[in-house]
Symmetry: C2
Subunit: 174 residues, 2 copies
Amino acid sequence: MNYCSHCGAKVEFRIPEGDTMPRHVCPVCHTVHYQNPKIVVGCIPESNGRILLCKRAIEPGYGLWTLPAGFMENHEAADAGAARETLEEACAQVEIGPLYSFYNLPRLSQVYLLFRGRLIDETFKAGDETLEVGLFPESEVPWNNIAFTVVRETLQRYFEDMKRGSFGFYFATI
Amino acid sequence: MNYCSHCGAKVEFRIPEGDTMPRHVCPVCHTVHYQNPKIVVGCIPESNGRILLCKRAIEPGYGLWTLPAGFMENHEAADAGAARETLEEACAQVEIGPLYSFYNLPRLSQVYLLFRGRLIDETFKAGDETLEVGLFPESEVPWNNIAFTVVRETLQRYFEDMKRGSFGFYFATI
């Protein structure tokens, strides 16, 4: 951030009065420009024990497989965002269930939220950010080509829980 | 947002190519300025069945009671942020437990996360954004002067769960 998005003046990077951390502050209109973590929302779309995965058509992780997920939008609920991302990336309709994984990613200033999901039917195709979509039983998941640690860990736990017949809630920091 | 925070040019508000929603876009350096929901993190600090509450010294809710909570910072985990806010607002040290409440507040473009917490000791005093701090059993909570719906609902459920001896996880949209 170089310029004040409100008035266009050059910003300073300093600790505002009464604060404890440096922020981008406008010396002209005095706006303090806070920057906060972003939320990634997605789901684990299941149909008869198989999970829908998307092969990424964008970086990071081009060509690797992931669960449908993306940045939560303003004026949106997290579970609605997870359904929207599934529709956008895999053209698939999903009924969102309970929150399953909560990952803090402080190095990226992100929080990653994955919900359980039930595919309404087995209709899907690649969206704009996706090369290919598939439904995988545990034995056919491309385990060596998963894009992100949060996705691999979530899938491993999900298949374990499925075998146990009881689903938990996982909170972790990576 | 009026000006590009990267190059200082006047921004346009339009749907970028390949997107579905209008964004602030810079016609000069082509930066797309996404805006995303903010995360509020806090906790329910308990000590022997009593809950620590803070009387707010700032708007919104000046003079009303709340749980210690505030905006999560970049490069921070949600549970660490909840402990930090408790220290800042109530000068109290807390051991953070499981996530207890998850509220979507789409009208405010916020997600509100409240963790269970155990006060390390009963040392506390008002921080800069707080007029007064107190430890309340259920019968003495100032129920008619609670600042936010998410806080009142969370406290009601927490005391119910305490009586039942079993704590759940609550996900809701307001």
